[in-house]
């Protein structure tokens, strides 16, 4: 339950940025482990990539790409806000970063299926 003082777009953008960053930090070690299989166990990697072609895994990958994209665009918004003399329309840009992330993740899924 989100408490009343947190129910506004920039706070939601903040928590989305935090949670996506946390999720990516948890995901990255697994990602690097799978990459390392290319050197240490190529057959296992082939098996994993075959498994990763399943539709359900692609749906989960959509989530991962979305998290990466929303963290990327949200981070750009924050850096622009803090480092450039540009202060207005923050809510619009927070919404736009979510929209861009959906576009990127959606494009990924459309290419994958």
């Amino acid at each position: 339950m989100i408490r009343p003082h947190r129910k506004h777009p920039l706070w939601l953008a903040y928590i989305l940025h935090r949670l996506s960053g946390l999720a990516l930090a948890i995901f990255l070690p697994a990602h690097f482990y799978v990459l390392s299989l290319a050197l240490t166990a190529p057959k296992d990697l082939d098996g994993f990539l075959h498994w990763a072609d399943k539709p359900l895994v692609k749906a989960v990958e959509f989530g991962l790409v979305f998290l990466l994209a929303v963290h990327f665009f949200g981070g750009l918004r924050l850096m622009a806000f803090e480092l450039l003399t540009w202060t207005k329309d923050q809510k619009t840009w927070a919404a736009a970063s979510v929209a861009f992330a959906f576009m990127v993740a959606g494009s990924f899924v459309l290419r994958a299926i």
């Binding site: 003082h5 920039l10 903040y14 806000f81 803090e82 480092l83 202060t87």
Partner: protein, 241 residues
């Protein structure tokens, strides 16, 4: 709210720094009633021991801020009709500040941080000097003017989750005040202010949640001021000052 509802169901937080709980009161529903009117009515008609703070009643002094239905608000300018939900109102002391009693909070930490942020004017001339003219259309003055109408109500401080999570964080109001002085051509210690706001608990702790700007009753934007401080402290760092 239906217009024929004759009484309001008001929950008021009662207690002190050791703890407390909400107490319910039935208050007559009247036209053009503010939350402060409701609190005053309870104290004058039902329980004279209810503690709260107010002074001007017209949104200038910044004394009467409280949490209303979970949001920080200046109660003297908050109309009941604007915030009531299902004929219920919940009034509590401001978040992030120690409670003295009931709805009155201890503002000491808030103003101590104000001073810690060097949010005090540093004069460059004495009373014997001529008054220095300030150009109202200069870039610095426009930035200062945009942030200067703060009434020290601590609504932004109560809305900020960074303040809640980090007791050292100076908070939006103190940093907003520091920003007005950084842009004040009459202030003589710009470098000291930038130094003060870049210490532990300073402007770089802000997570840009924006609750300060969302709830500021005077429609200021402390988040914008803090972003300005971040820029100026970074510039100052790379210039080796």
């Amino acid at each position: 709210m239906s217009s024929d509802t004759k009484t309001l169901d008001v929950s008021v937080w009662r207690g002190d720094s050791a703890g407390g709980k909400f107490e319910r009161f039935q208050v007559p529903n009247q036209q053009s009633q503010t939350i402060l009117d409701v609190v005053v009515w309870i104290q004058q008609k039902i329980d004279p021991t209810l503690a709260y703070r107010y002074a001007c009643r017209v949104g200038m002094c910044g004394s009467c801020a409280m949490m209303v239905n979970g949001e920080p608000r200046w109660t003297c300018r908050t109309h009941v009709l604007k915030v009531i939900r299902d004929n219920r109102i919940e009034v509590a002391p401001l978040r992030n500040l120690p409670v003295i009693k009931d709805l009155a909070t201890d503002m000491d930490p808030f103003f101590t941080k104000w001073v810690k942020a060097e949010g005090v004017f540093h004069p460059t001339s004495s009373r014997d000097d001529d008054i220095v003219k300030v150009n109202p259309s200069s870039d610095d003055r426009i930035l200062a003017d945009a942030a200067i109408e703060c009434i020290n109500c601590a609504v932004c401080y109560a809305s900020c989750d960074t303040v809640q999570g980090n007791p050292e964080y100076l908070g939006p109001a103190a940093l907003n005040r520091a920003w007005t002085l950084v842009n004040d051509e009459k202030d003589g210690k710009r470098a000291d202010i930038l130094d003060a706001v870049s210490q532990r608990g300073g402007c770089h702790n802000c997570h840009s949640q924006g609750s300060c700007a969302k709830f500021c009753p005077n429609e200021l934007s402390p988040i914008t001021s803090i972003a300005g401080l971040k820029r100026e402290t970074i510039k100052s760092f790379f210039k080796g000052r």
